[in-house]
Structure formats: C-alpha cells, structure tokens
C-alpha cells in the first residue's frame, strides 16, 4: 500500500463543500420565501405536546444501556485493528495469524463477560 497523500482526500472536501453549497442557498431561499410572523411567542416554545414546557430540555439523562456504550468504546477500536490485519493478510506470513487469533480469543472472553454484566440492568 502506497502512502496516502493529503491531496488525495481533497475531493472529499470538494464534495463536502458542494453539500454546503446546496444547503445554504436553500435555507436562504426558504428564509426569503417563507412567511415570518413573530406575533405569537407561544409558537416558538419547544414542543411539549400542546402543553407549556416544564423542566429543562437539556438535562442529565441516564439511559439504562450505559454498559453498551462502555463496551462500544473498547470493541470499536478492536474492529478497526482487525482491518489493519485484514488488509495486509497477503503480505504477512501465515504464522502471523496465530497471534491475531489469540487477540480475538482474549477479546471474545472480555466481550462475553461484558455482555453478561450489561445484561444485569440493576447495576447501571
């Protein structure tokens, strides 16, 4: 694999810029075309199903599935490591797979234990 040049990524930036070029004018045009009536302050309240909102919109909010988030932090990296190995499978000797398998085994054990813990909702 050849080394990447930063310039090879610039077309992605072009495409990104084109997306922005598509987005901004449409918002500006919508702003020009659409009515803007500001006489009713209730209209601009956040959605609360027809009620006047109570409490804070942005608050400390604990989902019960926190365990999965922690697991994700660990195992997402693992899956990217596997890519480094997978894309160079041709150029490495066959024996190099064994440590990879060992790595996977360790990871599986860890994942199984983490899944077991995350199944116990009570501790989260």
């Amino acid at each position: 694999m050849a080394g990447e040049l930063a310039s090879e990524f610039t077309p992605i930036l072009y495409a990104f810029g084109i997306g922005i070029m598509a987005g901004i004018p449409s918002l500006i045009l919508a702003r020009l075309l659409s009515p803007r009536k500001r006489y009713n302050p209730v209209k601009f309240l956040p959605m609360e199903c027809g009620q006047v909102p109570t409490g804070e919109g942005r608050s400390h909010f604990m989902m019960q599935y926190y365990a999965y988030i922690l697991m994700f932090v660990v195992f997402d990296v693992m899956s990217i490591f596997l890519y480094a190995w997978g894309s160079s499978l041709l150029s490495i000797p066959k024996e190099a797979t064994l440590p990879m398998m060992a790595f996977l085994a360790i990871m599986f054990a860890a994942m199984a234990y983490a899944l077991y813990l995350s199944g116990r909702k009570g501790i989260w």
Partner: protein, 428 residues
Amino acid sequence: MACGGGQVKMTTAPKDFRFGSFVGSIVWLLFWIIVIVSLVGLPLIFIILFYIPLPYSNGEVITPYLFLSMIVDPTRTIPIIKFLIHTDFFRAAVFPGFMYAALIAAATIFVERKFLAKMQLRIGPLYAGKIEGIFQLMADGLKLMSKEIIAPSGADKPIFWTTPILFVATAAALTALIPVAPGWVVSDLDVGLLAIFAILGFFPLIALLFSWSCNSKYPFIGGLRALHQMIAFEIPFILSALSIVLLSASLNLTDIVEAQYAFWFFAIAPISAFVFYISSLAELERVPFDLPEAESEIVAGWLTETSGMIYGLIQLGTYLKLYVLAALFVILFMGGWMGPQIFPQELIPAFTGEKIYNATVVNGIFWFTIKTFGMIMLILLPRGINPRIRIDILLHTGWYKLIVLSFINMFIVLAMIYGGVITPGGLQ
C-alpha cells in the same frame, strides 16, 4: 325568488384575497431573484471565464470569447466537455458525486411512495404531474421551501441552523467515495472503506448535536436513541465488511470491485451480507430501526423541532445516505459495476473518437445503477412489512447476534483462504 341557486358551485376566492398583494409578492420575489443573480451569479460567471484556466482546443488556448463561439459550433465543444468532465469539481458536483446521488435519491423517494402504496393497496401520489404524480417531490420541495422555519426559543441558534447543512454536506462527502465505473470515482483512496465508516460515524453525532441544540425533550431522547443505535450496529457493520477485506486484501473500493471479476463475494460471504444489510437498515434509521424518529413514542424523535427546509435538508441527507449504503452493498457483495457488456463499442460515432463515450464505462454505470436500485428496493421493503423494534431488543440483536454472525462468516472466509480454496484477491 331565485330558483335553483343552490346548484351553482361557489368557486369564489377567499374573502381577504387581494389581487394587488398577490402581484406585489411576485414582484418582490422577482426583485430578490434579480438582486441575487446580479450580485452573486454574474461575478461567478466572470470568475469562471477569466480566472479558471481553460483547456487547449485545436492548438489554441480557449479564451472566454472563443468559449462563447463554441456554443455555436457543437463539434468544438467536445474538448471542453471532455476537459470539464475530468475535473474534480465536475466529478464531485455532478456525475459520480452529488447530482447523480441526489437524482437517485429523488427517484428513491418517488419509488418508495409508489412501492409502499402498491403494497398497501392504495395509489400514492397522483395529482402533481400528469403521470402518476411524478412531480410530487418537486411539489413537496416547493412546499417545504415556502414554509416558515421555526427555531424554538432557547435553542442554540448557530448549531440549530448549521447542523442540517452539515448533515447534507456529510452525506455529500460520502458520495465522493463511491466508484460507479472503472476510473469514475471522485476520490480513489487506498483506505476508501475505512473512510466511509469514518464519515458514517458523524451522523449520530450530528443528530445528537441537533437534538441538543433544540432545547426540547423529545429531540433529546431521539438523539440519545440515535447514539444507542450507532453503538449497537456500528461494530457488526464494520465487522461484516471485514470478510470482504480478507477476500480482496484491500481497503480500496475499486480494488474490491476488481477482485469480484469472477464471482460476487455474496457467494462466499452471504452471512456477512445479511449482517451488513441489517446494520445498514439500522444505520439509515429505517423501519424497523427507526427508533430515533419513533413517532408514537417520542413525537418525531430528533426531527421534532425541524420545520420547513431544515426538515427538507435532513431528508435529502438521509436519502443520499441511503444511496451510499446501497451502493456500498453493491460494491462489497454484488460486484459493483461488473456485468455483461451490453453496450456496443461505438454507439455515438461523433463522441467515440474523443473518448467521451466509452462503452466499458457506460456499461459499468448501467449495471451499477441497476444493482444499486435493486438494493434500494430491498432496503425499502421492510418498511412495508415490519413494525418498529424496541431499543433493548435492538441492542440485544446488535451485540449478541449480529456480531457473532459476522465473526462466523469471517472465520469461514479465513478457513477458505488458508485451506487454499480461494486466494486473497479472488480466484487466481
């Protein structure tokens, strides 16, 4: 006594309608269009004409004046077209990039409506446009364009206004990585697959940002759900593509397609394909994984506070994403642009010599588009037959089932490679 007056259908306009104000609004609109065109459009044309180096044609540098003369003589425009279609800008903006994807996205929206309608024994869009409501999307776009955008009070205004644009732009950036035909890709990276995964990871972040900026509860829960969905399905999504990487020993999407010249990788990695399909459904927030927008639970999820064109932009981004993931499935498992050559070598004689019409390329584009559309239909299908899933089942499915399934296929592929059945890079 008036007789039979009741039968006259009253087709009067509403009472408060004034023709003068109607004309006035049109004049006002025209004024703004003229202002924008003269302030932005004309300078842009001059910049293009005078500052961008134009190509040589027939041995002479094309000046703006010559450029204008070429419009009169069609044959002299061919080099210009040839030059233009090989610029990065054209590729990113028009052909393999944004416009192509947006066209497919528009077609997808129409097809989805008609397809679902047919399955549900109804008609779907009918009146906009003469034939089966074909201009419904345009009508919807106009409607969204003319709707007021309401930013809720207490919202983080800069983020609220920029995230929809970012959403579209990120989706557009994804389209740059998709090769539609040999040589026809905006950005041919050696780590193309990884780049796609990396950019896809931005979407839950944008959803979360937007939901956070709204200062409202339902978007907030929706954003958190989007995050959880990413957590549940990112790893099986990445791992299911791993067996393809093992098979082709490359992360370059063009190389992956080239490796499938003999057979589709779907034949070797069907379980991975299945996992990839399910995960891309989740990644796209489509039924049955539309938890972040679950309307009967959290109103409209993270889209609750969107209105007018903000909603339109997010929908555009979503459908661009749909195209990208369908195309990625085609590239990884269904052989990309590979297909029987059905286009003759010389179709349009005038253009052939100038290398504008290339039979292989056109053939590749054709097959790629067909396959992608088939894949899009497959992604649309579950919407008609499945209810929504629940978040704990979703996480359970992602972590306990799909990861295991993708590993199983990876080990199968590994065993086949080491058993000598196939060699990396396809059958060689």
